[in-house]
């Protein structure tokens, strides 16, 4: 074999492996989605959204778990978003030249990837131990702590994309700086910031680990934020590992619901981001 042939063959082999790796990645995604559709679709019947989680052996739905997940995700987003936006604003607008800003950015990036079960442990020590019982408030706080770093990151990135000339123009018109930020910069970066919030919602909607020691679970309908509350991830965890066929069936239904909601949020967020990138 000549050197030329050897190099060509080596190249073909390397590139084929690269093709195969991509195919494997895509196949895994489709296998997971296919399994969810096949096993979860039959579970989603009329009672799925209206009935409570059943005791083993009887029919039921996931109404209380769906409600609990919606409420805790909403509270966590409402608490976490303002904190994240203000911190991101500090990093992008006021933190230039300050010695604290790089440290905050660094710590935020660590929190962004920190294991979510540690967050659960922290909130357990912070709230559950003191209150003496598990509660939906504690679950919401744990989820909010996961929202903050995601929103900080996207807010900072998006505010940095706003051209400096826009700030200077607003300041030259005599607007105070806070007004420049709130009504000019935020408005210019709004789509990007919304994208960040949607990604954060998608992230916490499926989080299980931080809820294990905080919101726990509740077999019944409960709107009491001060007590344990059912939530989809925990119910999937409990039902999937149970030996009962009808519980496992519901777990697949819940898994299907949660995954497609999250994928939809992700795709919407991407469209929103892509659209806002094109407008300026």
């Amino acid at each position: 074999m000549t050197l030329y042939e050897r190099r060509r063959v080596g190249n073909v082999i390397a590139l084929t492996l690269s093709w195969i790796a991509t195919a494997v990645g895509l196949v895994i995604l489709f296998l997971i989605l296919w399994t969810l559709l096949r096993r979860g679709f039959t579970a989603i019947g009329p009672g799925f959204f209206t009935q409570m989680t059943p005791p083993p052996g009887s029919r039921g739905g996931l109404a209380n778990a769906i409600y609990g997940s919606l409420v805790m995700t909403a509270v966590a987003t409402l608490v976490g978003t303002p904190v994240g936006v203000l911190t991101g604003t500090y990093l992008a607008e006021f933190g230039r030249g300050s010695r604290v800003a790089p440290i905050v950015r660094f710590v935020n990036d660590i929190l962004l990837s920190a294991p979510s079960i540690i967050i659960g442990l922290f909130v357990y020590e912070l709230m559950v131990v003191r209150m003496g019982h598990f509660s939906a408030w504690a679950g919401s706080v744990a989820l909010a702590i996961i929202v903050v770093p995601v929103v900080v990151r996207t807010t900072e990135d998006m505010l940095r994309l706003v051209p400096g000339s826009l700030r200077e123009a607003a300041i030259a018109l005599g607007a105070p700086q806070w007004k420049v930020t709130v009504s000019v910069i935020y408005r210019a970066a709004l789509q990007g910031m919304l994208t960040g919030v949607m990604l954060a919602v998608a992230r916490i909607a499926g989080e299980t680990a931080p809820l294990l020691f905080t919101a726990l679970n509740n077999q019944f309908w409960s709107t009491n934020m001060n007590g344990p509350m059912a939530n989809l991830p925990y119910v999937i965890f409990q039902f999937a590992l149970s030996p009962y066929a009808d519980w496992q069936q519901l777990a697949w239904g819940g898994a299907l619901l949660i995954t497609f909601t999250i994928l939809l949020l992700n795709i919407l967020a991407r469209f929103l981001a892509g659209w806002s990138n094109r407008t300026p």
Partner: protein, 321 residues
């Protein structure tokens, strides 16, 4: 005239200055809040695990005992399981992620680049618990019926590494957990690698093609050396994820507090132990030992993530120059 104007508006200016300072101050308070959050986590974990560390001393880190009845606890099996599953995850995740990143930057038709990249990123969006339930009901039975018997037959009798692949094919165990983790870290490593590959100046790349290099030679001799720090940073980021992953591992690892030489045997990780046992722990020492495990996990992931971040920052600074 100038003087009159500025004095005339001075009251308004002062008011403005106060408002601006208040706004700036508020954002700063929240930024400090993020630092406080990290501090709070460290304090809470330290306080919670104090009892365990004062009872067992440093022996907590090296003891293999895990006996809730006699209240004797050691972290070693969980630490071992965490490290081994993460190592397997990287062994599987890195080549796949690397291949995907090369495909997306060098081979893929431009029109498909975004859709395929998005699909790979969606792998990262699927929640951990979904990987867990899929691993338990689909992957584990598949491994048990086809892959593991083959491993036992082919690799089991080998001299040096054979002991890793002996024993019955259970389906659930350290290897299965590692494989699932590998699938989970793949999109993170692939995304970072792709992004850093794109920072290679087009001129460098085209010069190499211009002197007749093949695509694989360009990747190996131009792209990789240029982006090495970033790729390693991406790998560390994936490692940080793998170390702390909870639900997927809890479903498939088998939960046994014994260190077994075989990868096919059940084991446990720090996060899986926490998920399984924390709400059942009744005695203060049991709870404290579990919190101690959490503290160890936090220290390990903190170091890995910090290293990852510093490496990526270095690359960022270089490409900014």
């Amino acid at each position: 005239m100038d003087l009159a104007l500025s004095t005339g508006a001075s009251g308004g200016l002062n008011g403005r200055r106060v408002q601006d300072a208040a706004f700036r101050g508020t954002t700063r308070v929240f930024a400090f809040g993020v630092l406080l959050l990290l501090g709070g986590i460290i304090v809470a974990l330290a306080a919670g695990s104090l009892l365990a560390f004062s009872t067992f001393g440093w022996g907590f880190l090296t003891s293999q005992a895990w006996n809730p009845v006699k209240e004797n606890f050691g972290a070693l099996p969980a630490i071992y399981g965490t490290l081994v599953t993460s190592f397997i995850a990287l062994l599987i995740g890195i080549p796949l992620a690397f291949g995907i990143a090369v495909f997306l930057t060098e081979l893929c038709p431009p029109r498909l680049r975004r859709p395929i990249g998005t699909l790979i990123e969606l792998l990262a969006a699927i929640p951990s618990i979904i990987y867990g339930i899929w691993g338990l009901f689909v992957l584990a039975p598949f491994l048990q019926s086809t892959v593991q018997p083959a491993l036992i037959a082919v690799l089991g009798p080998l001299p040096v590494i054979g002991f890793l692949f002996r024993g019955p094919p259970l389906g659930l165990g350290v290897l299965t957990a590692g494989i699932i983790l590998g699938f989970m870290v793949l999109p993170f490593i692939a995304a970072v690698s792709r992004d850093v590959f794109l920072t290679v100046p087009t001129m460098l790349r085209e010069s190499a093609y211009g002197v007749g290099a093949t695509t694989s030679e360009v990747v190996r001799h131009i792209v990789l050396p240029y982006t090495r720090v970033g790729v390693i940073g991406g790998i560390m980021l994936g490692l940080g994820r793998a170390l702390g992953e909870t639900m997927a591992v809890t479903f498939v690892i088998g939960n046994s507090h014994r260190i077994m030489p075989s990868l096919l045997a059940p084991g446990t990780t720090i996060s899986a132990t926490l998920a399984n046992e924390f709400t059942e722990a009744v005695s203060p020492l049991y709870t404290s030992s579990l919190t101690g495990l959490g503290a160890i996990l936090f220290v390990i992931t903190f170091l890995v993530l910090a290293a990852a971040k510093l490496m990526l920052l270095r690359l960022e600074q270089r490409s900014a120059k």
